[in-house]
Symmetry: C2
């Protein structure tokens, strides 16, 4: 997905490194820096951790126009409402448009200076204004956190990354579950826990529990082993 | 929304502070710390920035059980697949269940140690295992970034935070737009830009553009002012 992160007028190089790390965790690698105050810088490398390659490949340019010249869509991020420009939209509401545009050309996500944000001039170069909905009493996401959220939202919405392989437990078949239910019912009746007339309600409850849990084959085996042990002891 | 962030066995107090900041930006304030290596600590306060109140109110407990005793749902976060426990689910897919449970009791989001994550024992105390989908080649979100993403996902899905007030530009009425279209058509015909027979195509195109743009009243006024100036010059 051709998403470009553009950081404009960044004051602290550590924030550039942390943003590079955030990008890479979500699978993005295209970073453009508009007139950063200090770059390259050891603080950027330190905060990038395993994303030094993203920093290495970053383009440093002198204007926002140069950073977004080949993009068909540039989305500016702003924490506050702005009088002179577009109305802000919630990040999530812009995702379909961003993913659609990114199908044919790079899309720029543009983040301004840590303190002052994007200037009105910069916002006028963007076609959309995105807002990360936040606590009105404390909306101060740091720069890398905002980049992390934006990249997460796009990657999660696009379904870019699969879940990690898990143990792959084998699900119980209907036959397995019916075998367990029958075994449980006979063991419970043998135990005299229930009056014969009341077993129905109890068994219904257990069926619901098993259905909700989504039993694994190994769990059915373990439960039946336990029931068998009860039965054995009860028969002594 | 009663969401509790539980950080277990955290090594670096700076990460606790950064997580508190991430929480507060999304409007969450309930923080529990299970056996943190160093806490309280000046690094935590420094990284919390304006969220010192969240740190101040954090509960320090000796076990995960104590941190989640009053919760009906505890969701463990893990970056990797785990053999011995639940299959991981994408964070977003768990949101409806989390929001549903949070309607009646606190829900815990549980994050393990920075290096080793949650132990299998800890995961067994959780009813669900959440995964933040990430780049398989570099899935190393730092602790505060993971907390930021989780809190953002819940707040954005719940629609907790409104957009900031914007300039509130007044939209043009249909009458405004028709006035502009008529004005444009007469000025264009006066300019001889178009043969009289071809004005229809051009005006259709302009109508489409105005419709797509969603004109503001002030923009209609500015465009008509410009047209009037053209007309005046053309008539000299």
């Amino acid at each position: 997905m051709p998403i470009r992160i553009v950081l404009s007028q960044t004051s602290h190089p550590g924030n550039i490194g942390a943003a590079a790390r955030a990008m890479k965790t979500m699978g993005f690698a295209d970073l453009a820096l508009v007139s950063p105050r200090h770059f390259p810088d050891p603080d950027a490398v330190a905060m990038a951790a395993g994303a030094a390659d993203v920093l290495q490949a970053a383009r440093v340019v002198g204007s926002l126009e140069a950073a977004i010249a080949d993009c068909t869509l540039a989305v500016g991020f702003s924490a506050r409402g702005r009088d002179l420009s577009h109305a802000p939209a919630a990040l999530r509401s812009l995702v379909p448009e961003i993913l659609g545009a990114a199908a044919s050309a790079p899309v720029a996500l543009v983040f301004g200076n840590e303190t002052s944000g994007l200037s009105n001039e910069e916002l006028l170069r963007c076609q959309r204004l995105a807002h990360i909905p936040a606590n009105p009493a404390y909306s101060s996401l740091n720069l890398a956190a905002a980049v992390q959220v934006a990249c997460y939202e796009l990657a999660a919405s696009a379904g870019t990354h699969a879940l990690p392989a898990s143990g792959g437990a084998e699900a119980a078949t209907r036959e397995d579950v019916e075998g367990l239910v029958a075994h449980l019912e006979s063991a419970v009746q043998e135990s005299s826990y229930l009056d014969p007339g009341h077993a129905g309600r109890f068994m219904e409850r257990m069926r619901r529990l098993f259905a909700r849990a989504g039993l694994e084959r190994a769990e059915v085996r373990a439960l039946r082993g336990m029931l068998a042990a009860f039965e054995k002891k009860m028969r002594r």
